[in-house]
């Protein structure tokens, strides 16, 4: 029984240029204790999908269709009041950019205590005690609760953000690019911390990142997004070892591998499509080396290609016509 089920989620933004279909029909599930990786390049809609779950979209963004089922509640439709009871207490988020996500003029202890006071209805003193525990949990000395964000390094601020997300004992934590802009060594420290916390606190996690090599080491299953859609979803092993979508293959191939050959990785020619006016048919077809007429005419569905492994590509259901000699 999955904890969180997202079905047909569509989130659109109204802008001067037109409607940006940032998330355009996304399905995924998150099981109890699972960690799901949501990967894709910048602008593919992965952060928007996460913010939609929390309903923290900016004012011009709106969930236009789909359901987000969390233990019987449809988060896309529940009232703001019900949502408030779920936010942070059940689902919390580690925001992108630890450098800027903290309030620079408030002590970090007070910032972490804020959701505790609001959600758990306890007094300040009890909240501060909890803050001390949380800080030690993430490897910060409890006395540093009295300090301001500028007194912390980047890695330490990320730890504070993690402590803040854990403040109300949530069941699901969404980590939005938790290690981007951190050094490799600090990155390894933070990932290790997240893994330990997930184990110890029995969390379910959605990890959002553009860095597939980070996901390979930390997630159980993953979904690859391209231009507002999920193109492939499955266990980490299936996606890496037995990718069924050309984009997944190309994206994995674009990462240099320190244990692989000493040659430049391949790249995907072309540009990311506009989300205001996405290509017809399969959204990846202008950059795809296998594309044929069907890919322009008809949009592929996310079809099962193995046990708990889905891919949205015509190659898996239809045989392409023989390539004309060029």
């Amino acid at each position: 029984m999955p904890l969180l089920t997202v079905k047909g989620l569509k989130t659109h933004f109204q802008t001067q240029e037109g409607t940006v279909r940032a998330v355009d029909g996304v399905d995924f599930t998150l099981g109890e204790g699972e960690s799901l990786g949501l990967a894709g390049e910048s602008g593919c809609g992965k952060t928007t999908a996460a913010l939609s779950i929390m309903r923290l979209l900016p004012s011009n963004g709106k969930i236009v269709d789909g359901t987000i089922d969390y233990v019987g509640y449809d988060l896309a439709k529940v009232t703001e009041g019900q949502l408030r009871a779920i936010r942070w207490k059940h689902i919390s988020i580690i925001f992108q950019g630890a450098m800027n996500a903290l309030n620079p003029v408030k002590r970090i202890g007070d910032q972490i205590a804020e959701p505790i006071v609001i959600h758990d209805k306890v007094d300040k003193e009890a909240a501060m005690k909890r803050v001390g525990e949380l800080l030690e949990l993430v490897g910060i000395h409890r006395e540093r609760a009295q300090e301001y964000p500028h007194e912390f390094s980047g890695g330490m601020r990320q730890r504070v953000m993690i402590a803040m997300a854990l403040a109300c004992n949530p069941r699901i934590v969404i980590a939005d690019e938790p290690v981007t802009a951190l050094d490799v060594m600090i990155q390894a420290q933070i990932l290790e911390l997240l893994e330990r916390l997930k184990r110890e606190l029995d969390l379910s996690m959605i990890l959002i990142s553009h860095d597939l090599s980070v996901m390979a080491e930390t997630c159980d299953s993953m979904a690859i997004m391209y231009a507002g859609k999920i193109v492939e979803r499955g266990s980490v092993r299936d996606v890496y070892k037995d990718a069924k979508h050309p984009y997944t293959k190309d994206l994995i191939g674009a990462f240099p591998d320190i244990e692989g050959p000493q040659t430049l990785p391949a790249y995907i020619p072309g540009l990311l499509p506009s989300l205001i006016n996405p290509p017809l048919g399969c959204r990846f077809h202008p950059r795809c080396k296998y594309a044929w007429q069907l890919c322009v005419d008809q949009e592929p569905g996310l079809d099962p290609v193995g046990a708990d492994h889905f891919a949205a590509c015509h190659l898996n259901t239809t045989t392409p016509p023989p390539k004309e000699a060029t």
Binding site: E41, S42, S153, G155, M156, D183, V184, M185, I186, Q187, A188, Q189, E192, H210, D211, L212, S213, V214, A216, E217, V236, R237, Y240, K241, D250, L251, I252, A254, F255, P256, D257, I258, E259, Q262, T263, L264, P265, A266, Y267, I268, P269, L271, L272
Partner: protein, 580 residues
């Protein structure tokens, strides 16, 4: 090294002075520095891609900028495209065996050489007295002469102005002759002296000519009537003295060969590609403006047609084809990859030989990174460029570099050919860094060495080996000081019965600490703890002896040294005591 050296750094340093308040500056004679780059030795061969890797704040970008003099280097030498014989002479002179004079070689060839002879306080006092006496004599004589010959006061305000110019010329001429040192700053002193001399001699002239008595000087009619003329004279005196003084000092610098190498001409050969194409391009300039700017600044491109041709060529070289389509676009109309290509075109337009590429792909999406990297490789083939590629991403260095240098806290800790450095890292820091690089394959989980803590503050660099506080294999000689060992003892005793005992530990010298009042069994306790914990708390390894002294315990530590970057295998240099 197989390749002929193109860029050679020796003991290269870039320090930034910490800002101090006025009173702080008075209290402390020596300023504190952030030692961003602190003694880097580097050899980049012609046509090579040298990757400088390290964590943020290790000084890799500052090194790149320092080479191009975009930040002023503090010390050390930068040689660009210098013949091998000169480098050999330099090394010999440095070792004290060569025949050539070290300063002469540095002046003739090192980009970062500066005429630098520090002033001592007696010199300063002497110069002050000399100048004051000189000015006194210099002003009384003309005062007498002008009073006797021209019968001061001048009747005409313009005479004061002319007089100011004459005095300034005299001061500038005599002031910039030896023994005055030829430094640009001295011209400001000359300006001040000219004003002093002008006013003093004019006033003295008034007194000696009997026009006013000394007491009534400042009530004199002259100042009242001809204030404007006097002010004009003052202004001209400053201007002329500074201007003429500067020309004379430049002349002296050139004649005495003290100006070092002019970076201006060389900059055409040395270019940089910045990290973030979203920040580094001026949004109000078109692509043409951006790429043509270096040509205009350097006075190349004699006419519009030629400039345009060179800009188009550079854009085409950078892979923006056809270039005409891009000339009049603005940065916001371009994608990230195209912007970075514009940035590259801006660097290429001057036909450089050497490019510093400062994380050129870290802001780009993964799927287009390789396109930019391929372009850089292609340019190397076509134009024989040499790269200093700065990156934090070891896996990128792996696929791109010929050689890699690993930096930690302003110093290179290991340097070698790419394959050797990645497959067989020797320095503990390199080992850890290589081990934490994520691999895009869930089946290959690697044994990660995660270092504890974060890099120290570069304004407070640990003594000895600067990596020792985080090093998983640090030992006696690595640079432990009493303070660190005391902290480790206190840390390990938290929550144990020894916590109270160790609270009294005092570090009273860098190499020793004491426990003033210790119970009889304290010595044994400490020995036991050290034995049990020394693998985990590496600082305990530095303890040399524990002895009773004055009712307390005195613990002394081993001596330490800073490891040098030494060749330990063909073409591999490591700075670590493990390899000494």
């Amino acid at each position: 090294m197989a390749r002929e050296p193109y860029l050679v750094l020796r003991d290269f340093r870039v320090w930034f002075e910490k800002r101090r308040g006025f009173f702080e500056a008075l209290r402390k004679a020596t300023p504190e520095y952030v030692r961003a780059v602190d003694g880097v030795d580097l050899d980049v061969g012609r046509g090579e891609i040298f990757c400088l890797v390290g964590e943020s704040g290790c000084g890799k970008t500052t090194t790149g900028k320092g080479i191009l003099q975009l930040v002023p280097p503090t010390g050390g030498d930068v040689f660009v495209d210098v013949p091998k014989t000169v480098l050999d002479e330099y090394e010999a002179a440095k070792a004290g065996t060569g025949s050539a004079d070290l300063e002469t070689i540095r002046r003739q060839h090192s980009l970062s050489w500066k005429e630098h002879r520090p002033w001592t306080i007696p010199q300063f006092v002497l110069l002050g007295i000399l100048l004051a006496v000189g000015t006194l004599i210099g002003t009384t004589v003309p005062a007498f002469v002008t009073a006797a010959v021209f019968h001061l006061p001048f009747t005409d305000g313009w005479s004061y102005v002319g007089y100011g110019v004459v005095v300034a010329l005299l001061v500038a001429y005599f002031g910039s002759m030896p023994p005055t040192r030829p430094t640009p700053r001295i011209t400001l002193v000359l300006g001040g002296l000219a004003v002093l001399a002008f006013n003093l001699s004019a006033d003295l002239g008034l007194v000696f000519s009997g026009y006013v008595d000394a007491g009534g000087l400042y009530q004199s009619r002259i100042w009242g009537d001809q204030t404007l003329a006097m002010l004009g004279g003052n202004l001209l005196a400053i201007g002329v003295a500074v201007f003429v003084g500067r020309i004379l000092i430049w002349n002296r610098l050139r004649e005495e060969g003290l100006e070092g190498i002019q970076i201006r001409g060389l900059r055409q050969k040395l270019q940089i590609i910045f990290q973030d194409p979203y920040e580094s391009l001026n949004p109000k300039h078109s692509v043409y403006d951006i790429v043509a700017e270096p040509l205009i600044v350097n006075g190349l491109g004699r006419n519009r047609a030629e400039t345009e041709a060179r800009v188009e060529q550079a854009l085409a070289d950078a892979g923006l084809r056809p270039p005409r389509d891009f000339l009049f676009r603005y940065p916001h109309e371009l994608s990230g990859g195209q912007r970075q290509r514009v940035s590259i075109a801006g660097a290429l337009v001057l036909d450089p030989e050497f490019l510093v590429a400062d994380e050129p792909v870290s802001m780009l999406d993964v799927s287009i990174r390789t396109e930019i990297l391929e372009l850089l490789l292609e340019l190397r083939e076509k134009k024989g460029l040499t790269y200093l590629f700065i990156t934090h991403d070891l896996s990128l260095a792996w696929v791109l570099a010929d050689r890699i240098g690993v930096m930690y806290l302003g110093k290179i800790v290991e340097e070698g050919p790419t394959r050797e450095l990645i497959k067989n890292p020797r320095h503990p820091y390199t080992k850890a860094l290589v081990s934490v690089v994520p691999v895009p394959d869930p089946d290959r989980r690697r044994q990660r060495i995660i270092l504890k803590g974060e890099r120290p503050d570069p304004s407070d660099i640990p003594p000895g080996c600067r990596f020792h506080p985080r090093c998983p294999v640090a030992f006696e000689r690595c640079g432990w000081i009493a303070e660190e060992v005391v902290t480790e003892l206190k840390d390990l005793s938290v929550g144990t019965p020894e916590e109270g005992l160790f609270a009294g530990l005092r570090a009273d010298a860098p190499g020793a600490f004491t426990l003033p009042s210790a119970p009889p069994d304290a010595e044994a306790t400490i020995r036991r703890l050290i034995e049990a914990k020394r693998e985990e708390f590496r600082g305990l390894k530095a303890i040399r002896s524990i002895e009773r002294a004055d009712g307390g315990i005195r613990v002394s530590l081993h001596e330490f040294t800073e490891p040098e970057l030494k060749a330990i295998a063909p073409d591999v240099k490591v700075s670590c005591h493990l390899f000494a």
